[in-house]
């Protein structure tokens, strides 16, 4: 049973998705999805525990075919860490989202929503667990196609346009990725990532390998929404149903970042991709641009969901900055921030989902006086904002600390200065929301407000409290991240 776990966490969501598509009853589908997501979470956590305990990677031969010819599912510390993150968020958003889905999505579509949700989760987990370059593409398509559908389910008509925009750009990204994989396959004759790394070694400086690397990195950057390839993200996050936004913001881009790390550090290798190409410099400049452009644009957003979406562009910049720093501390910061950002942005989007449900819009001006009427929601928002800001005692501080230390190790003190400066921008845009919610009176003619349903508030608050808890007790995030960095850097040294 235990040795089948890698296949279980992928196959069970897939089967459940098909079952949901046949049943299409909201209550039953929700229950199935919840149970399956929880099973995936327990499975992922068990595998991570096993890897930690025995210090040995889990390898699973799909269909009984041995790698490198067959498809291999591989769980090491890094994969286990991301698997736990994705399945945890998926479970939490299911608990959170039921009430919001009932309001925001047409009744006839609710069964399909859970089908697509499960498919999306299956795809995201698949990208992480597979050790096969082409299989990763297949899972990328599964997750992306279901994501487009999920976004298009938003009740605002612009959701369809946003989904279409994402469809076009996402497809370009996936196509570039598969072109790159094709080039590498022609060169080496293998698709297994570990095998690819070995065989590619002597051929890395051939034009074909470099072209393949460029295609893969640009394609993945589109999926990551790395500045300036982030144009699909703000609209997709702003117009998707609230639960979908919370799920996507916390998982989708993170999984692509994981894949990028794998390619940079394992397949192309530290010695080549980081030391002999200008990739770190390019990624660093783009990350800093993402941080500033994203935060700066966020300040001027009237739609709070859009504001948080631009803030996501900036936060992705922090994560890729850690990749560009290319030392153990910076990478740890990057990995920790993958988890931390998922927790805090997930929480913020959950709270905004509650606001959207009660007020009916997410316009900043409509939120005047919400602090008094929805104290739990808005107080959570303040704490989440502190975390985004990087106040000590919250998760945001932990990851920024590691990033800053990583930058100092490289002697890039000016990066540290820029990191500080960027926090001020966060203060401005989060401050705007807090100012409007707490210090403005609610207009007399506005509809009276009350708190969002308990299930939504409670899930969001669990995440908010996690922001604080993980800010003090970093043994899980930093502990696993530090070990996972050894996996990434260990292959190179």
């Amino acid at each position: 049973m235990l040795d089948q776990l890698p296949a279980i966490i992928i196959a069970v969501p897939l089967i459940a998705a098909a079952v949901c598509a046949i049943i299409r009853n909201e209550t039953i589908c929700w229950l199935i999805a919840l149970v399956v997501a929880f099973v995936s979470f327990v499975g992922s956590a068990t595998m991570l525990g096993q890897v930690q305990q025995y210090g040995e990677d889990i390898s699973y031969k799909l269909g009984g075919w041995a790698p490198p010819a067959g498809i291999e599912y591989k769980v090491d510390l890094l994969a286990g860490y991301v698997l736990v993150l994705v399945s945890l968020i998926a479970t939490a958003v299911l608990i959170y989202g039921r009430q919001s889905v009932k309001v925001e999505i047409k009744k006839s579509m609710q069964g399909w929503y859970y089908t697509m949700y499960l498919l999306c989760m299956c795809g995201l987990l698949g990208i992480v667990i597979t050790g096969d370059a082409f299989n990763a593409f297949v899972f990328m398509e599964i997750s992306s196609l279901s994501m487009y559908t999920l976004i298009a389910l938003g009740k605002d008509r612009r959701a369809v346009a946003a989904a279409y925009q994402y469809l076009i750009l996402g497809t370009i990204g996936a196509t570039m990725y598969v072109i790159g994989v094709g080039l590498l396959f022609t060169l080496t004759g293998t698709l297994n990532l570990a095998d690819l790394a070995v065989r590619l070694g002597p051929m890395l400086d051939t034009p074909a390998a470099i072209a393949g690397m460029a295609f893969i990195i640009v394609g993945l950057s589109l999926k990551i929404a790395l500045f300036p390839l982030h144009l699909w993200l703000p609209n997709a996050y702003a117009f998707a149903p609230s639960a979908v936004t919370a799920f996507l913001a916390a998982t989708a881009t993170k999984v692509s970042i994981y894949l990028l790390m794998r390619y940079l550090y394992t397949v192309f290798g530290f010695g080549f991709a980081i030391e002999q190409t200008p990739i770190p410099e390019v990624v660093m400049v783009l990350s800093l641009l993402a941080i500033f452009a994203g935060s700066f644009t966020a300040i001027f957003q009237e739609n709070v969901k859009r504001m948080l979406a631009y803030s996501s562009v900036a936060q992705i910049g922090y994560i890729t900055l850690g990749i560009a720093l290319a030392n153990a501390t910076g990478l740890t910061g990057s990995l920790v921030h993958i988890f931390n950002h998922a927790v805090m942005k997930g929480a913020l989007f959950m709270l905004v989902g509650g606001i959207a449900m009660q007020i009916g819009t997410v316009r900043l001006s409509d939120m005047a006086g919400a602090g008094k009427a929805m104290p739990l929601t808005m107080f959570g928002f303040v704490l989440g904002g502190f975390s985004m800001l990087g106040v000590p005692g919250t998760v945001g501080f932990v990851s920024k600390w590691y990033l800053a230390m990583g930058a100092l190790e490289n002697g890039w003190w000016w990066v540290v200065a820029l990191l500080m400066l960027s926090s001020l921008l966060v203060l401005v845009y989060m401050g705007r929301v807090i100012e409007v919610a707490f210090f403005r009176e609610r207009p007399a003619d506005a509809v009276p407000l009350k708190e969002a349903p308990k299930s939504m508030i409670m899930t969001a608050w669990v995440f908010i409290l996690a922001c604080v808890y993980l800010g003090f007790d970093t043994s899980f995030t930093v502990g696993v991240a530090e070990q996972a960095v050894n996996v990434l850097l260990g292959g190179a040294q």
Binding site: Q4, L14, A18, I22, Y60, L62, G63, G64
Partner: protein
């Protein structure tokens, strides 16, 4: 297309052969190029031809959109069901060797056959459903 006698008669003759050819492609997948995906597209093409000549309503009387919406996930379930069966027999997911305990090659044969049947069902019904959706617009 009421007036186009030749089109009506020719397509009526063609459709059984199209379906037969689809089955040929389907089963040829065991030995060479072919398989569920290609066969599924040919099956869907046969129905699309019927719809073009005899109208969407007549086609939907034969296969209703509601039936297709069940057929799409059903194909996936057939595929995944084979995997679940190999689990129950104590093997890895989709390890066809486990299907026949006496002769692994028989297991491989049967496994691919079933999986491809699932692919045929899903691909053909998805294709047809896409056609229905576009052709039904504006009604």
């Amino acid at each position: 297309m009421r007036g186009h006698l030749i089109l009506r008669v020719v397509s009526k003759i063609l459709i059984p052969f199209l379906l037969l050819f689809a089955l040929y492609v389907q089963f040829h997948g065991d030995f060479g190029p072919g398989g569920g995906f290609q066969a599924g597209v040919i099956v869907a093409a046969a129905f699309v031809l019927y719809a073009l000549i005899f109208g969407l309503r007549a086609t939907q009387k034969i296969i209703s959109p509601a039936l297709l919406e069940v057929a799409v996930p059903l194909g996936v379930l057939i595929y995944a069901g084979v995997g679940v069966y190999t689990w129950l027999m104590g093997g890895n997911f989709l390890d066809y060797n486990m299907i026949d305990s006496h002769d692994p090659s028989h297991g491989q044969h049967l496994g691919v056959l079933l999986v491809e049947a699932g692919v045929l069902l899903t691909v053909s019904s998805t294709m047809l459903l896409i056609f229905y959706t576009f052709a039904g617009r504006g009604r």
